[in-house]
C-alpha cells in the first residue's frame, strides 16, 4: 500500500501537490498576518519555516523514491542512521549523565528493533524497504520521545527525592530498591502519551498511515485495523525503550559504592 501511495504522489501529482502546498502556504501566512494585528510578529520565521519544511519534505520524497529501488539492507541502514540521530536528540535531555548518547541509542535501538523484528516475523510488515522505512521511522520517532521522556522524568523524580533515596541507601537498601518508585514513574511517563494516542485513535485523530492507505484505495476497515496495529506497536516500542533507558540511567545514577551521583549539582 505504501508503494502505491508513493508511486501516485511521485508519478502524477507533483504539479497538483505544489499547487496544494501553495494554497496551504497562503493559508498559513494569512493566519500569521492575522496574528500580526495583535502584535505577534512571526512573519519572517513562519515564511522561512514553511519554505524549509516544503523543501525538506520534497527532498525526503526524492530520497525515498530513489531508495524504493534499494534492497532491504539499505532500509536497515537507513533505520540505523535514524536511530543514531534519534539518540543524539534524546540525549540532550540527559546532559550530565555519563554515556547519555550510548544509553539513548541502546534504548531506542532495543525498543525499535525488537518491535520491528516481531512485525516482520509475524508478517504485519512486508519485508520491503517501501514499508520498513516509513513504519520504522514512525516507531523510532516515538521511541525517541519515549526515551527522552523517561530520562527526564527519572532525573526529575530522583532530583526531587534525593532525601528519600539516600534515606533508603543509609538503611542498607540496594540502589535499585532506593529508586524503584522513580523507575516506575519514568517508565509510565514514557507510555502515557502513547496510551493517550491509543485512547483517542479514531475519535480525535486519524493518523497518517490510515489516511495514506485510504488515499491509495485500501479498504477503510482494513486501513483502520492496520493503523491500530501500528499504534499498538508504537506503544510496545515506547514501553521497551522507556524501560531500557530508565534501567540504563539507573545504573549510571550510582557509583560502584552505591552513592547517589544523580542529584542537583552542589558540592557536598
Amino acid at each position: 500500500m505504501f508503494t502505491e501511495l508513493m508511486t501516485s504522489l511521485t508519478a502524477n501529482n507533483i504539479g497538483l501537490g505544489l499547487a496544494q502546498a501553495a494554497a496551504a502556504i497562503v493559508l498559513s501566512l494569512a493566519a500569521v498576518l492575522l496574528a500580526r494585528r495583535f502584535a505577534v510578529h512571526a512573519e519572517r520565521e513562519t515564511a522561512w519555516s514553511l519554505m524549509r519544511g516544503l523543501f525538506q519534505m520534497a527532498m525526503v520524497g526524492v530520497v525515498l523514491a530513489l531508495l524504493l529501488q534499494g534492497s532491504l539492507l539499505v532500509g536497515v541502514l537507513i533505520l540505523l542512521g535514524m536511530s543514531v540521530a534519534a539518540a543524539a536528540t534524546a540525549s540532550h535531555r540527559a546532559q550530565g549523565i555519563p554515556d547519555a548518547l550510548l544509553v539513548s541509542f541502546y534504548a531506542i535501538a532495543a525498543g525499535s528493533s525488537i518491535v520491528l523484528a516481531v512485525m516482520l516475523a509475524t508478517g504485519v510488515l512486508n519485508a520491503s524497504i517501501a514499508t520498513l522505512v516509513p513504519v520504522g521511522s514512525m516507531i523510532i520517532a516515538n521511541a525517541m520521545n519515549a526515551c527522552a521522556q523517561s530520562i527526564e522524568r527519572f532525573r526529575a523524580e530522583v532530583g526531587a527525592h534525593v532525601g528519600q533515596v539516600e534515606a533508603g541507601l543509609a538503611l542498607g537498601a540496594e540502589p535499585a530498591v532506593a529508586v524503584a518508585p522513580y523507575v516506575q514513574s519514568a517508565v509510565y511517563a514514557s507510555l502515557l502519551p502513547r496510551l493517550d494516542m491509543l485512547k483517542s485513535l479514531g475519535l480525535v485523530w486519524i493518523p497518517g498511515v490510515m489516511a495514506g492507505m485510504l488515499l491509495s484505495g485500501a479498504s477503510p476497515i482494513y486501513a483502520g485495523i492496520y493503523q491500530f496495529i501500528v499504534v499498538a506497536m508504537i506503544l510496545a516500542a515506547s514501553g521497551l525503550t522507556g524501560l531500557v533507558a530508565t534501567l540504563l540511567i539507573r545504573t549510571r545514577a550510582f557509583s560502584p559504592a552505591a552513592q547517589l551521583l544523580l542529584r542537583p549539582a552542589a558540592p557536598r
Partner: protein
Amino acid sequence: MTIKDHNTRDEVQVVAPLDAPQFRPFTTNVVAQRPAPLSARRLRLGIALETRNLSRAVAGKVLVNDFNVLLIPGEVLAVVGPSGAGKSSFLRLLNRLDEPTGGTVLLDGQDYRQLAPRELRRRVGMVMQTAFLFPGTVAANIAFGPRQRGTPISSEQIEALLQRVGLPSYGDRDVNNLSGGEAQRVSLARTLANSPEVLLLDEPTSALDDASERAIETLVLSIVHERQMACVMITHDMAQAARIADRTMVVEAGHIVAIGPTEEVLHVH
C-alpha cells in the same frame, strides 16, 4: 591553651586531651549512667570507629580536610560549626554516602572500603535532619532496613522499638499523619531496627520545638548508652552540644579547629 590532640594530625586548640575525665554540665537521669573516663572505657570497649586523614574535596573546594577522630562505644561526639563548615560532609563520609578523596574510616578496626556498602550502612546508621519517611505505615518504615538484608522483623519487635521511642501502638499509622517530632522518632526507630554499632545524627532536632527537642535528646542519650553505640551528632546549637555530648568537635571551613571534652571546648569557643 594549645596542645596536640592525638586525635588529629594538626595542632589544634583543645581544652584537654581526649583521655581526660569527662564531666557532664547538666543533670538528667542519664548522667548517672556515665561514670567512666573515656580512656578507661576505650581500653575496655575498644574503638568503634576511627577516621584516618579523612578528606573530601569537590571541584577544588575542600569540604573535609584531614580529619582524625576516634569514637568509642557509648560515646557521644557533637560536631558544631557554622553553616558550610563541613559538618554534614563529614557525617556523610562516615557511612560512605559520599566517597572520601583522601584517607579512610576504620569500623571496628576494618577499613570500611572492604565492607559492602549495604553492610557498612547497616552498621553505621544515620538519622537525617528531615525524617524522610517512606510512604505507608510506621511499621513498614521500621521493617524497611531488616527487609533489605532478608531478616524479617516481627510485629512484636516493631512494637518494642516503637515503645522504646515513645510511640506505642503507632505501627498502623500512616506516616502522613505524624507530627515532626513523631516522624523523627520513627526515623530513629527505623535506624535502630538495623541494630547499628554507630549512630549518626544530622541535626535531628533542628525542625522541632523545644519540648520535642529535649525529648529526642533524652531518648537518644538513653538509647546510645543502653546499646553502647558510638554516636556522632551534628548540631548548630552549642547548648545542645553541652547537654548531650561527651566530646565536642568544632569545625570551620573543612578543618577541625578544636576537639575535646565538651565543657572545656565550649568554654573556649
